[in-house]
């Protein structure tokens, strides 16, 4: 009767949660066998390329594709006339008027790179040649490229909105103007936060296939959010969701840049249809990646704060102007996050800030790791240090006086439950030797600085729900499959979610395999953003594991005449909860389930929707996240006052992550965030002139490389969140938020030079030193 006898899993039990198990993809990665969308090819596959506007702002007078069509090897050409001209965007739910981009523009182009047509041909050379043969007649319009120029009356109008302002977002609480008058000290600062670019190593890649007879679309994609891509595809193509299957391949990084459908995804599928159903692959060049995907918003950040002599913050006001570029993308919610993240960090009662998301004829701003928090982190945390300095307070003491604490509701109705911010600050200070170093190394031109931050794990800013689903299927040979809609883009979610499911099921990690991010096979998931996956998708994986376990225990209980509520599965054994007595092994239990008598398939399901409320953008109120993560960071620098070079010596990062499901992955996410923060602080700066990107390559746009990476110290603070799976919170973005300010504050401590506009360059340091001498 036995279907299986010997287990291939049980001898190597690894308790899955809290262990640094190796990535599921590990062997595939190090042998080159893991296939990304970049590596896929299919019989008959065509090469697709996008035709892009050479003008920053122009009317499209005509598009003539006749000559291109007659080029041998060209299989399909599409323009706006082949589409329904339906606009797409990413803030549809809260800001429907910001849905403003078309897959292929028909009347007007708004930045250099705007898509006007697409070609599919038998090879790259033919596709490139065909692009040159498409004749587009433009009437060039005056463009506008600077935020403060774009909002002036009479500036060239990019969309229909007044003064190029796509969204005005006021955030008002209390009466800051009145309370500010009672302040002992008021300080105002203006910061410039430059434009960074996600630049994942794998560029945007898609392969679209439109089976013309069945009218079904399959899109293989390098994506952070396959279900959101499917939704935008269905909308713009007027198809049902289930007509479109998006398969997220192992994805070579995203960092916010791969959250949306891009015109290339749409074009690949429409080209495929026109080419009779042949698959069409589009791979962006690195230059296209830098110029036509999504970038971080450049922001002018003004902030004014009134405090009492003892350091208590009374009121804060401010204004944020964000360079949105040609279309809105996630811009309005990025802007909101840039203003409202502060409520998670500091106790505030009186607050007024207004954000303006401004259209320019620059490339499109959207989501990028940090989601507004990198900009506000630099501005707010630099500002706080300057206030502490003016009050003669230690910056750490000043922060400790004003930070949020556990079990409190913020002014905008966020419910902070577990909150390890104080512990983060204290532990980081001890590890870095704050008291021994702060202000005491000036003779060495060395300094130390701090920045703090908090982050959501998921955010109800996108749709009416943001649930995640999971399925745990246990096969008769004892192997376990986790099906999750979550999109692993390198952060390790496949592994972490598998650890959660295996742990809850009570089995070794070695049993589990993970299938993720296929809209036709895996349950729905909104995607990898807002540090939400461990928390939200993790809870779904946990519930699916629990459901599968219950199904197994039902059979055991029935067979042995026991009560199911007395049983559990732990470390590969079915046990009696009360005394831990072993009833049978997991393999024996499965043998029973799949026996002649029972024939019970084990398919567990989990669905989790965090207990949150969406932000009401009229009031700014809303408990956007099921829990909140916290973070303190300290940087130590040494400045060469002859050359202006700032050497970053060491970073300490204390992070309230609830519970580390996989400590190694958590550390890796922190280290990656710190590296990106270092890049933003010192050199990541996408520059434009008249709408043209001046540095669209890795030679011109420097990203962190192995030389110049300081020692990084990760300190994991486990606050065991009651709502998180095994206490875990989301993480992955918070460590990037305070890095620039921590470094800038360390520079101040070292040499007394303050930086208001990033990046910190030797020229700015030398200028700062000269200005100081002049005073």
């Amino acid at each position: 009767m036995a279907l299986t006898t010997k287990s291939k899993f049980a001898d190597a039990y690894v308790d899955p949660v809290g262990k640094s198990v190796p990535r599921l993809e590990g062997r595939g990665v190090v042998t080159g066998q893991l296939k990304y969308a970049f590596d896929l090819s299919f019989p008959g596959m065509l090469v697709g390329r996008m035709l892009r506007s050479p003008h920053a702002h122009a009317k499209i007078i005509s598009i003539n594709t006749t000559r291109a069509e007659s080029l041998p090897g060209v299989k399909a050409i599409v323009t706006a006339k082949d589409t329904y001209k339906i606009k797409f965007g990413s803030n549809e739910y809260f800001f429907p008027h910001t849905v403003d981009q078309m897959a292929l523009e028909s009347d007007k182009v708004r930045y250099i790179g705007d898509e006007v047509a697409a070609v599919a041909a038998v090879d790259e050379e033919t596709a490139q040649a065909a692009l040159k043969l498409i004749d587009v007649q433009y009437e060039v319009l005056p463009g506008v490229y600077e935020i403060e120029e774009a909002i002036k009356p009479g500036a060239p109008q990019i969309h229909e909105s007044l003064n190029n302002i796509a969204v005005i977002l006021p955030v008002n609480f209390g009466n800051p103007e009145r309370v500010m008058k009672e302040a002992d000290y008021v300080r105002e600062d203006k910061f410039w936060c430059p434009v960074a670019h996600p630049s994942p190593m794998e560029p945007h890649v898609c392969i679209g296939q439109w089976e013309t007879f069945t009218n079904k679309i399959t899109l293989w994609s390098s994506s952070q959010a396959p279900f959101k891509v499917r939704e935008a595809m269905a909308k713009t193509l007027k198809m049902d969701l289930n007509d479109i299957r998006v398969i997220k391949m192992p994805t070579g990084g995203g960092f916010g840049g791969k959250l949306e459908m891009l015109p290339m995804d749409f074009a690949a599928c429409v080209l495929s249809k026109k080419a009779g159903g042949l698959p069409v692959k589009i791979v962006l060049t690195r230059e296209e990646e830098f110029t036509t995907t999504r970038r971080k918003h450049g922001m002018i950040y003004r902030v004014k704060t009134g405090v009492k002599k003892d350091g208590t913050i009374l009121a804060m006001t401010g204004e944020v102007l964000a360079d949105g570029g040609a279309y809105c993308s996630y811009g309005p919610t990025v802007l909101a996050a840039a203003m409202m993240r502060i409520f998670m960090v500091y106790k505030l009662q009186h607050f007024r800030m207004t954000g303006y998301r401004v259209y320019t004829n620059n490339p499109i701003s959207g989501a990028m790791r940090g989601f507004g928090g990198v900009q506000s982190g630099f501005a707010i945390e630099s500002h706080m240090d300057m206030i502490a300095e003016a009050l003669g307070m230690d910056p750490v003491d000043f922060r400790l006086k004003n930070i949020t604490h556990p079990n409190m509701t913020t002014i905008n109705k966020m419910h902070l439950t577990t909150n390890g911010l104080k512990e983060c600050i204290e532990k980081a200070c001890v590890a870095a030797g704050w008291n021994e170093k702060r202000g005491k190394q000036k003779h060495l031109k060395r300094g130390i600085g701090i920045g703090i931050a908090a982050d959501v794990m998921g955010s109800k800013m996108y749709k009416s729900h943001e649930s995640a689903g999971a399925i745990v299927k246990v096969e008769e040979d004892g192997s376990v499959y986790l099906f999750t809609g979550a999109a692993d883009t390198g952060q390790g979610s496949n592994t972490a979610l598998s650890q959660i499911a295996a742990h809850e099921l009570g089995v070794s990690f070695s049993r589990i395999k993970c299938k993720a991010g296929d809209t036709e096979i895996t349950p729905f998931d909104t995607g990898s953003f807002a540090s939400r996956v461990t928390f939200i998708s993790g809870n779904a994986a946990l519930l699916a594991g629990r459901d599968a376990k219950t199904q197994i225990l039902e059979i055991v209980a029935k067979d042995r005449g026991l009560r199911i509520e007395d049983l559990d599965i732990k470390t590969e054994q079915v046990i009696v909860k009360l005394d831990g007595r072993k009833i049978m092994t997991f393999d024996k239990a499965l043998e029973l389930c799949y026996s002649f008598n029972y024939g019970k398939q084990i398919i567990g399901r989990g669905s989790y929707n965090p207990k949150t409320s969406p932000i009401d953008f009229r009031t700014g109120e809303g408990n956007v996240s099921g829990s909140y993560g916290f973070e303190a960071q300290i940087a130590e620098v040494e400045v060469d006052t002859d050359t202006g070079e700032v050497k970053l010596l060491e970073l300490w990062d204390a992070h309230d992550i609830g519970k580390a499901i996989n400590p190694q992955s958590v550390e890796a996410q922190i280290e990656g965030s710190l590296a990106m923060g270092i890049g933003y602080t010192f050199y990541e700066d996408l520059r434009f002139k008249n709408g043209r990107v001046l540095n669209p390559n890795f030679a011109g746009y420097r990203v962190p490389r192995s030389i110049g990476i300081p020692k990084m110290n990760s300190i994991l603070i486990e606050t065991n969140d009651p709502e998180g799976p095994f206490g875990a919170k989301g993480m992955g973005e918070a460590s990037l938020l305070p890095t620039s300010a921590a470094i800038a504050n360390a520079v101040w401590d070292a040499i007394g030079v303050r930086i208001w506009d990033l990046p910190i360059t030797p020229e700015k340091i030398i200028k700062g030193l000269r200005d100081k001498e002049m005073k």
């Binding site: 190796p22 190090v30 080159g32 190593m201 390198g490 030679a699 192995s706 990476i709 020692k711 990084m712």
Partner: protein, 155 residues
């Protein structure tokens, strides 16, 4: 032109126009897609292969110049099922996140360790400075290289 390249211990006869890069030949003609590229213009290191013991960028190396040379790609590193110490170390230290840069990173590391199994931190940083990793922030990569070097040196 007809040419035979020696790749991963095998002779690969090829018919080339002459202007193909090694990267194109590997990926398009030989289906060796383990070698990636993120820029195609020698700025990212993702396409690194080992040619006669040296880490080389396959995106700017013409295949037609490589006759008689020994070419190793990421697919040719392991001995059967047995991973090399540097591959195993990248798994053990969690050095890979999205993994897209890792084949190139491993090839640069392997070329370094084959010449110098116990490199200093500075030597590692110098050897890997041409390889961009956007995910991981490098410390876990440094750890893996040091660990693999020790194993290769028999320590």
């Amino acid at each position: 032109m007809n040419i035979t390249l020696h790749i991963n211990g095998k002779d690969c006869p090829l018919e080339l126009e002459g202007n193909e890069t090694l990267l194109e030949v590997l990926r398009d003609s030989l289906n060796l897609t383990g070698t990636k590229t993120a820029c195609q213009e020698s700025e990212c290191g993702t396409c690194t292969c080992i040619i006669d013991g040296n880490a080389m960028l396959s995106c700017i190396t013409l295949a037609s110049t490589l006759e008689g040379k020994s070419i190793t790609t990421i697919e040719g590193l392991a001995h059967g099922d047995q991973l090399t110490p540097i591959q195993q170390a990248f798994i053990d230290h969690g050095s890979s996140q999205c993994g897209f840069c890792i084949p190139g990173m491993i090839m640069s590391s392997a070329a370094l360790l084959n010449k110098n199994p116990e490199p200093t931190q500075e030597e590692i940083e110098y050897a890997l400075d041409g390889n961009i990793c956007r995910c991981a922030g490098y410390p876990k990569i440094f750890e893996a290289v040091k660990d693999a070097g020790k194993k290769m040196a028999g320590k």
